[in-house]
C-alpha cells in the first residue's frame, strides 16, 4: 500500500503539522518507501498470536490517595511563551 498526498495531508491535519506544498512530493516519496519497508510484516502469519500487551511482567502499581503535589503555580507557568499571573494564554479557537 503506498501513501498518497491526500493521506499525508490528512495525517498532518491530525498531527497538527502544516506541510509545505513545495515539500510534499519529497515527503510522499520518503513516507511511501518507509511504509513499503514496514509492510514486510505482511509476509508473516500472525493469526494465532496475541499482540504484546506489556513488555513487563508486573502488576500495575498504584499510589495512595494523598494530596502531595500542586500549589506550584509560578513553576507551572514560568516556562510558558504567553501567560499572565494566573493563566496560560492562547489564541482563541474558532468554534
Amino acid at each position: 500500500m503506498s501513501i498518497d498526498k491526500n493521506k499525508i495531508k490528512h495525517a498532518s491535519k491530525l498531527a497538527r503539522i502544516s506541510v509545505d506544498e513545495k515539500k510534499i512530493d519529497a515527503l510522499t516519496k520518503d513516507l511511501s518507501s518507509i511504509l513499503k519497508f514496514v509492510e514486510q510484516l505482511n509476509k508473516l502469519n500472525t493469526d494465532k498470536v496475541e499482540p504484546l500487551s506489556s513488555i513487563l511482567n508486573e502488576p500495575l502499581r498504584s499510589r495512595k490517595d494523598e494530596i502531595n503535589d500542586g500549589k506550584i503555580r509560578e513553576k507551572i507557568l514560568e516556562n510558558s511563551p504567553q501567560k499572565n499571573e494566573e493563566f496560560f494564554v492562547v489564541p482563541k479557537v474558532i468554534e
Partner: protein, 488 residues
C-alpha cells in the same frame, strides 16, 4: 405525549415518531487527589494552583494511578449491578486542544474496568430497567475561559487529570422524563456510595446525549446525533425535545440525518452542529505504554462488595416494610441519601406517620422555599424528632406545631424551648376544658338547640369558639370528645 399508550411520541406531519436516547454520563470521582497525579481535586481553587508537572505534561513526566479511584469505580460498578472486569487497559485518546496538555487523554477503550449492568427507574407508569453498556475511568480536561479577553483564551488546568467515570447506557431511554429519572437514579446511587457527589452546578456530573428517532413501531435504530456536554437535567430535556423535533422534520421532508456532534445552545434553546469536527473523531486509541494493564483481584471485589452501604433500591424495600410506607413515599424519602438518613434518624424513635408527613410536607416545602438542602436546614433531625414527639405526646396540638415549625425554620431553636418560652403547651386538662365548654354552651343556647335539632355543621362553630377562648391551645381530640358528650 400519546395519551393512549402513555408513550412519549413526537407528532410529525406524517405520523408518530419514537425517540431513542442513550446517555454517556461523565461523573467526577470523589477522591482527594487526581487519577494519575497527587494534585488536589477540590472545587473552586485559584486557577492553576492544583496543577503538578505531570498535570501540565512537562517533558519526561509520567502517570501513576490512584488506587482509591480504582476502588471507587469498582464500587460504582457494583452499584450498577455490573460485571467488574478482572483485566482492563488504559488507552491514550489522541487529540489536540488547549486544555488537554498532553495532547492525549488517558482513558479506556476496548477493555474498560466495568462491563454490562443495569439500573431500575421508578416511573409514574411503573418501574423500568435501563441497561448499562460499560463504565470506564478517564482523565478530565482543564478549562478554557473564552470570555475574559477579546482575542485570547485563558487556560486553567486545575481540573486537568481529575478522575472521571464515564457511564454509558444502552439506547434504552424513550423520553425526557425517563432521562430525568435515569440521571437522578444514577446520581442517587453514586451519592449513596460516596463515589461522586453529583453536583451538576460544580460540574461533577455532565452528560453527552445521543438522540435518534424512528417511526412508532419500527424496530431499527435511526441515525443518531450526539449532543455534547450538557450540564443540567433541564437542558438535557430541552435539548432532546428540540433535537428529536429537528430530526423528525428532516426525515419527513425526505432527507437523511447526518451523524454528527452537536452543542446545545442554552440561550437559543436549540442544538447546532460543531463546525470543527470533520476529522476530529480519529482518536487513534492505543494502549498507554507508560502504564501496565490493570488486573483486579477477585478478593478485592469481594471485599468492596461486602463493605457496600445499603443502596437506594434496598433501602426503599426496607422502608416500605419497616416504616409502613407506600412505594411512592419510600421513593421520595430514599432518592437522596441525606434525606433518607434524616428520615431514619427521626423515625427510629418518633412516630413514623407524623415523621413522614412532616418531612414530606412542611420540611420539603421550606427547603424549596429557601433553596437549601436538608443538611443546611435549621430544622435538624433532632429538632424534627422533638417536634414530632411534642405532638404525639400531646404537649402541643398539630396546629400549634405548625407555628413552632415556622420558628424553628428561621432560628434553628429547639422546639421544647420555643414551646416553653411562648407557653404554647396544649390545654389537655379535661376539667379545664369542660369549664370552657360549659361556658360556651351557656352563652350560645340558641346554637346548641339548632345543633341538637340536626344542624350538624354547627359542631365546627363550637370547636372554633373553644379554640378562640383557649388561644388555640385546647387539645382538639379532647375538645371533640367533650363537646360530643355535652351536646348530646
Amino acid at each position: 405525549m400519546s395519551k393512549e399508550t402513555g408513550k412519549y411520541l413526537i407528532e410529525g406531519e406524517k405520523g408518530k415518531w419514537e425517540v431513542v436516547i442513550g446517555l454517556e454520563v461523565h461523573a467526577q470521582v470523589t477522591s482527594k487527589s487526581k487519577l494519575f497525579s497527587g494534585s488536589s481535586t477540590k472545587f473552586g481553587a485559584e486557577p492553576n494552583t492544583q496543577v503538578s508537572l505531570v498535570d501540565s505534561a512537562f517533558p519526561g513526566m509520567l502517570p501513576v494511578i490512584n488506587e482509591f479511584c480504582i476502588q471507587q469505580a469498582i464500587k460504582t460498578g457494583l452499584g450498577l449491578n455490573a460485571k467488574i472486569n478482572p483485566y482492563s487497559v488504559f488507552d491514550r485518546k489522541n487529540y489536540f486542544y488547549a486544555d488537554l496538555p498532553q495532547g492525549y487523554q488517558i482513558s479506556q477503550y476496548k477493555n474498560p474496568i466495568v462491563g454490562e449492568g443495569e439500573i431500575t427507574l421508578d416511573l409514574p407508569e411503573g418501574s423500568k430497567k435501563v441497561r448499562i453498556e460499560r463504565l470506564h475511568l478517564e482523565q478530565d480536561a482543564g478549562k478554557s475561559i473564552h470570555d475574559l479577553d477579546p482575542i485570547n483564551t485563558f487556560i486553567d488546568l486545575n481540573r486537568s487529570g481529575v478522575a472521571l467515570m464515564e457511564i454509558v447506557s444502552k439506547p434504552d431511554l424513550r423520553s425526557p422524563n425517563e432521562v430525568n429519572a435515569y440521571v437522578k437514579k444514577l446520581r442517587s446511587i453514586m451519592r449513596y456510595l460516596g463515589t461522586c457527589d453529583g453536583n451538576m452546578q460544580e460540574g461533577s456530573l455532565r452528560a453527552d446525549v445521543n438522540v435518534s428517532v424512528r417511526k412508532d413501531g419500527d424496530k431499527n435504530l435511526g441515525t443518531r446525533c450526539e449532543i455534547k456536554n450538557v450540564n443540567s437535567i433541564k437542558f438535557m430535556q430541552m435539548a432532546i425535545e428540540h433535537e428529536a423535533q429537528r430530526q423528525v422534520e428532516i426525515l419527513e421532508s425526505g432527507k437523511t440525518i447526518n451523524q454528527e456532534t452537536r452543542l446545545f445552545d442554552t440561550k437559543k434553546n436549540e442544538t447546532r452542529s460543531m463546525r470543527s469536527k470533520e476529522d476530529a473523531h480519529d482518536y487513534r486509541y492505543f494502549p498507554d505504554p507508560d502504564l501496565l494493564p490493570l488486573n483486579i483481584d477477585k478478593n478485592l471485589i469481594e471485599k468492596i462488595k461486602k463493605d457496600l452501604p445499603e443502596l437506594p433500591d434496598q433501602k426503599k424495600e426496607r422502608f416500605i416494610n419497616e416504616y409502613s410506607l407506600t412505594p411512592y413515599e419510600a421513593n421520595v424519602l430514599v432518592s437522596d441519601k441525606e434525606v433518607s438518613d434524616y428520615f431514619e434518624k427521626v423515625a427510629k424513635t418518633s412516630d413514623k406517620n407524623l415523621t413522614k408527613n412532616w418531612i414530606m410536607g412542611d420540611l420539603f416545602a421550606s427547603l424549596n422555599e429557601k433553596n437549601i438542602s436538608i443538611s443546611e436546614s435549621p430544622v435538624t433531625a433532632n429538632n424534627m424528632a422533638q417536634l414530632v414527639d411534642s405532638i404525639s405526646s400531646g404537649l402541643i396540638s398539630g396546629r400549634t406545631a405548625k407555628e413552632v415549625f415556622e420558628i424553628i425554620k428561621e432560628t434553628g431553636e429547639e422546639p421544647k424551648k420555643i414551646i416553653e418560652s411562648k407557653g404554647l403547651q396544649q390545654k389537655s386538662d379535661p376539667k379545664e376544658l369542660e369549664k370552657i365548654i360549659d361556658k360556651i354552651i351557656l352563652e350560645n343556647k340558641d346554637k346548641v338547640a339548632q345543633y341538637k335539632a340536626g344542624k350538624d355543621k354547627l359542631f365546627g362553630f363550637f370547636v372554633g369558639q373553644v379554640m378562640n377562648v383557649s388561644g388555640g391551645k385546647a387539645n382538639p381530640q379532647l375538645v371533640n370528645e367533650i363537646l360530643k358528650k355535652k351536646l348530646k
